[in-house]
Subunit: 226 residues, 2 copies
DNA sequence: TGGTGTGAATGCCTTCACAGCG
DNA sequence: CGCTGTGAAGGCATTCACACCA
């Protein structure tokens, strides 16, 4: 597959440290490309793509140039091809086994969130301390006691963990996930947690997002949008 | 109250355009200060605060200096005082009436999320198109038909809206919110929406956060954490 | 002594501008 | 001709380093 001529492809990956902001925009490019593809759009120029997302054309080209040469002079980018390339870069061309810890309201919503599956993130297990949910299934995902975390993570070869427990329990859960060999953690608990350097960490604090919004409203510093 | 001597306070607000990154860190400072206060900590230095969050001491001081002079040489910052100042800056010293649009799994989880209330964000209404939920209450919040959105938004003086509907409906909902006079929108739909410049916009895409994590795992570019 | 506030220096990211190619 | 890829320039943001203060 993908015997596309000899253009510099995704392979060289990142040698000269890619700015975090670029990676973030990569996700935006991918999302927009997937939209465009659904609408049957075949190719798009950097200026068109940028315009839809609020970026400059130069920004789009520079960002993509970090990872290879994907464009065609005079044409732009082939949507299908570029989307696949970005998926390879982000890692969503493969499936990721995910575990959820904390089956409260938020946790349950996450278990049922379709957007994850569409991008290749598949829940294999959920954990909680509440005996009323342990042993049940939600959205087809089995819920285990927190005690069985190491065992289940290892046997299912789960690589990513999502923390949706109260703030006070978050660091403890993170420690267990790390010990079980998890590679990355998405933390929804409103607290700073620390993990060893070989584990990746992304945090989302819902209240903080609203704070950013209220600040933006108060100071009307146009376009807090990401 | 707050007759604190004559140190330059929050008032001058932002004159020389505050970088977005600074505002984001402000939320982290506030969250950490609230933790510290619960533990009874009275004062903290920029280096201590920074260390807990992974920032340098100079960064902490520069950030705060955008908004006034809050520190005491030789002492550091008084946690209570600084927390209050940041709340004033972010706007969470006041209450914000919030509306939710889209009462699916995620929407329901958001209605029950305690973290919002703690920071002064209060749901006054929710909207959906599903007749099975219209007229009911969830977590004490009344659910209205989407048709009644303008009326309810106006009568309750709701300033912020949260969008938790499918991607295909998001822009339409945003348009209605804008027309109803909303001041800021937090968008959870995985799509780029556009609003007029006088309306603030913050977007959260849950799948994107996982993409950032998988990228970080694959390229092990230490510390994707925010 | 311990720690802030801040100009100056550094370094990084974005934008410009243009050669080159289909 | 249209649009990419990219060196060079420019603009921000972060870090340094130090005067000053309690």
């Amino acid at each position: 597959m993908s015997g596309r001529s000899k253009r510099k492809s995704t392979e060289p990956a990142s040698a000269k440290s890619v700015p975090q902001a670029v990676v973030s925009r990569l996700s935006y490019y991918l999302r927009e490309l997937q939209h465009l593809l659904r609408q049957g759009v075949q190719t798009i120029s950097s200026s068109q793509l940028g315009q839809r997302l609020g970026f400059t054309d130069a920004q789009v080209r520079k960002d993509l140039a970090y990872f290879g040469q994907f464009g065609y002079p005079g044409i732009g980018y082939r949507c299908q091809e570029l989307a696949e390339a970005i998926r390879r870069i982000l890692g969503t061309d493969q499936q990721w086994a995910v575990a959820l810890v904390g089956v409260g309201h938020l946790g349950q919503a996450l278990l049922g969130y379709k957007g994850f599956t569409q991008q290749g993130f598949v829940f294999h297990a959920a954990f909680d301390v509440n005996p009323r949910v342990i042993g049940k299934q939600i959205e087809g995902i089995p819920i285990y006691s927190l005690d069985r975390l190491p065992e289940v993570i290892r046997s299912h070869k789960i690589r990513l963990g999502i923390i949706a427990v109260p703030a006070s329990a978050a660091q403890g859960v993170a420690d267990r996930l790390v010990e079980a060999g998890i590679q990355g953690i998405l933390n929804f608990a409103p607290v700073t947690i620390t993990v060893p350097p070989q584990v990746s960490l992304v945090g989302v604090d819902l209240a903080m997002e609203l704070e950013q919004l209220s600040f933006s409203v108060l100071h009307r510093q146009q376009d807090a949008g990401k």
